[in-house]
């Protein structure tokens, strides 16, 4: 199910909210049980329903992860388990989680690359076994892993299976984040505030996120799709296409994250903010503090620090940084282009760290720093959007005028420069350049802001009926 389709908006959401608020909570719960265990159980059930809407069998690996990590967590939480055994359980859990991720997400990639290797040494290749990819597996696997690592590091495990399942399968963040760390949400699973103030701010954020996806991301996504699908576009058209993609991915993913935050608030959860004006960043280091914050935080806490962070000398710090970014890239998709994308960002971060966490253009005016950073990010988006590494290089070639445009390349202009395309791009550019971010806009309520957000939401609902099915970009990860 997708937040921006009518089955979610008109059936799932009101029904889930109605039942949720009809379920009583226990003012004085038994020890080890949360006040909201029944509500958490309801959220777990509807989380599974939400997830199974894509494909019913997708719930099976998630259920398996849920049960296994709940049991591992209980065991790790016992005081009488020797240190060596705790480590063994941690390793088993990590292997299980990463193994599932490896099979479902990287199975085909591994087989294909093995085939390339076999072909390179003159051996017979084999038929690649096609494995269906359960949407959002990377997200809930990371949720589950964070739980086990936090318990291993000393957090208390949850006693109630409903609470744990609720953490993993909480539908607002289930398929595209924000990636939750258990230590952030553990307290809220037990006791959280349900207030009109929080709920209404959640509604405000939901309105804004919904409008972002339908009114901004989807229309410019069509431009990006056309430009990237073309064989050899003209340089200007290629730049226009990647600019459209930069807008699309931001409004698509940020729209989803803002909706997730809003929905979380409606159920009393305060999830973490995922974006903070990333295209206002004045260095790549700054960009990663603002883009997909929940992923960078997760990677820093559970991977970078586990690898030793910056505590093991300068050389090791750079290696750790590169590794984290490469794996971060690989997390996004089982294709070489994502590894390449991660590698470029890792290299940029390394260079900036080497020069005191500053870019080489640090002494230029802020507008120039922001522009250069945006340009670098824009170029790296090519790797993110292209259909494979060769296409990424060919597209970059088109952007920089290498090679001849295709014979019919001029026709692309008829697809991507309509008056409505220009208007949509201009609106996106203004929305990005202006200083007020949706998160802040939604946090402080006023009648004027309500009028803006509700109008946008209504227009978006109307537009939703004229758009083709358009799932969120991050579902594929």
């Amino acid at each position: 199910m997708v937040f921006t389709e009518d089955v979610f908006l008109f059936y799932f959401l009101p029904f889930v909210l109605l039942v949720y608020y009809l379920i009583p909570y226990q003012a004085d719960p038994a020890p080890g049980k949360s006040r909201y265990w029944m509500r958490n159980l309801w959220l777990t059930v509807v989380g599974y329903v939400f997830y199974s809407w894509f494909e019913p069998w997708f719930v099976l690996p998630m259920m398996f992860t849920n049960v296994a990590d709940y049991l591992f967590g209980l065991y790790l939480g016992r005081d009488d388990v020797p240190k060596a055994r705790r480590k063994l359980v941690l390793i088993i859990s990590m292997c299980m989680n990463l193994g599932l991720l490896g099979i479902f997400k990287y199975g085909v990639f591994t087989q294909e690359n093995l085939n390339h290797l076999l072909a390179a040494v003159g051996q017979d290749t084999f038929s690649v076994l096609q494995i269906a990819f359960p949407i959002g597996i990377s997200f809930y696997t990371f949720h589950s892993m964070s739980y086990i690592i936090d318990i291993y590091r000393g957090e208390r495990p949850v006693k109630s299976f409903a609470d744990f399942s609720c953490f993993v399968s909480l539908f607002p963040q289930l398929v595209a984040g924000p990636i939750l760390r258990y230590n952030v949400l553990s307290q809220q699973l037990h006791s959280r505030m349900h207030s009109l103030s929080l709920f209404s701010r959640g509604v405000m954020l939901f309105f804004l996120g919904f409008a972002m996806k339908i009114l901004l991301a989807n229309p410019v996504g069509r431009i990006a799709d056309a430009a990237f699908a073309a064989q050899h576009p003209h340089a200007l058209d290629a730049w226009w296409g990647v600019l459209a993609y930069a807008f699309q991915i931001y409004f698509d993913f940020n729209g989803y994250s803002v909706m997730a935050l809003g929905l979380g608030m409606m159920f009393g959860f305060e999830l973490i903010r995922n974006f903070n004006a990333p295209y206002h960043a004045d260095s790549i280091t700054d960009f990663w503090r603002r883009w997909h914050i929940s992923l960078s935080t997760w990677l820093r806490e559970y991977l970078y620090i586990s690898l030793g962070g910056n505590r093991k000398g300068e050389a090791r710090t750079y290696i750790n940084l590169a590794l984290v970014m490469l794996l971060g890239g690989f997390w996004h998709g089982s294709q070489w282009q994502f590894i390449f994308w991660g590698g470029i960002h890792g290299t940029m971060l390394g260079i900036e760290r080497w020069s005191g966490k500053k870019p080489f253009y640090a002494n230029s005016p802020r507008w120039m720093r922001v522009s250069v950073t945006f340009l670098v990010v824009l170029i790296t988006w090519v790797f993110f959007r292209a259909d494979g590494l060769p296409h990424a290089f060919s597209y970059l070639g088109s952007m920089f005028g290498a090679g001849r445009p295709g014979p019919f390349a001029d026709l692309l202009k008829a697809e991507i420069y309509h008056s409505h395309d220009l208007i949509n791009m201009l609106i996106c550019a203004i929305a990005i350049a202006q200083p007020v971010q949706s998160y802040e806009f939604g946090k402080q309520l006023s009648w004027g802001r309500f009028a803006v957000a509700f109008s946008l939401f209504l227009v978006a609902v109307v537009m939703m009926y004229t758009q083709a099915f358009n799932p969120f970009l991050y579902f594929q990860f």
């Binding site: 389709e5 009518d6 089955v7 908006l9 008109f10 059936y11 009101p14 109605l18 199974s52 809407w53 894509f54 494909e55 019913p56 038929s127 690649v128 096609q130 009109l196 103030s197 709920f199 209404s200 509604v203 405000m204 939901f206 309105f207 069509r222 056309a226 699908a229 073309a230 064989q231 259909d387 494979g388 060769p390 296409h391 295709g406 014979p407 019919f408 390349a409 001029d410 026709l411 692309l412 202009k413 008829a414 697809e415 309509h418 008056s419 409505h420 208007i423 309520l445 006023s446 009648w447 309500f450 509700f454 939401f457 209504l458 609902v461 109307v462 537009m463 009926y465 004229t466 083709a468």
Partner: protein, 397 residues
Amino acid sequence: MRKLEWTLVSALLAVTAGFPLYQAAHEAIVDKEMPHVFNLFLRSPTKENLHRWDDNAKDRSVFAKWLRPVTLQFRYDVLGEMAPKSLKGEEDWLFYNQDVDYLLQPPYTDDRFYKGTFDTLIAGKRVNVRNPLVAMEDFRARLKARGIELLLVPIPGKPSVYPEKLYHGIHGQPASPTLALLEDLGRRGFNVVDLFSPMLKAKAGGAPQLYLKRDTHWTPQGMEVAAEALATRIRSMLPDADTAMVLGPQDSTVFTPRYLIKDTTVERWGDIAEMTKVPDRKKIWPNESVKAERISDAVTGLPYKDDPASPILWLGDSFSRIYQTDAPGAAGIIAHVAYRLNRPLASIVNDGGASTVVRQQLARRGEMLEGKKLVVWTFVERDLRFGSKGWQVEELP
């Protein structure tokens, strides 16, 4: 502040809960049916059932029925925006998005052509059924085993012939990627007909408009250019056929014409205009009036009719249907090729299904192959990329 907070919550609930309640009430009271929402619980929750329920909910939505046309008209009036399948060109010309995408996107020789597809194991060989060459090679071999020749005829899409009507700034007359395919097929020993050269030659020579302005298909004039080229090629492939066929209708000394030709006028509305989904489309774009020539039997005066016993079997798509079974009837390419060959053809025509569906239909009607000497397989060039069901390998009976 509390008032504002309540207003926000009420606004959300008014939209999200108000809609399904109104919908259910409408279905129960006006349509006198069980509200669709209950259907969700009547079937097992398989992916198909869930998605079917979802689609039905969208189709039955009272709000969607009301909002969709209003929004589409508004978007066209204010922004000139149309549904994504259609593109606005110059001088009121409309283009089909897939026709343009075919020219812009990588051809079958590029890895990206196969993105998101899987290989299939056929007779111990890994093949990709999106690759048209696989199906063409296979079909040719199966026909050859029955002593039947195959003639491949890709039909130019409208933007290949009139790119300047889509974008005025285009330089020269670019070559369609289909020409590379024709060369490739030629190297592989296939019999092919190049319709691009005669079409472009006719256009350059000042011929009347060869394609309809707001339709994906050709005008009768464009169709006749193709019919002439095809008839010439077919004659060269079947030299041992009967005299009338070899000589053709031009040689009046020994020729007994089997068919007569009669001028008529056709009104075409345009399938791309329909695709725009703009509610006022009938008012915005008028019908196009074109001159056509109907073919009728010289003896009976009845319109041209196929003969299943003909040695020539024609496989085609809507380019073979237009003017033939559509108005005015018996004025399409099949009738015109038959007229030029002075003999009827047998045909299987399926709209949008020339890549695979026509061969599936042929497989079900094996008797159609009896006594055949030649199969003419026509398909619009965009089907090389977007053909319905890809280019599957099909058994013949």
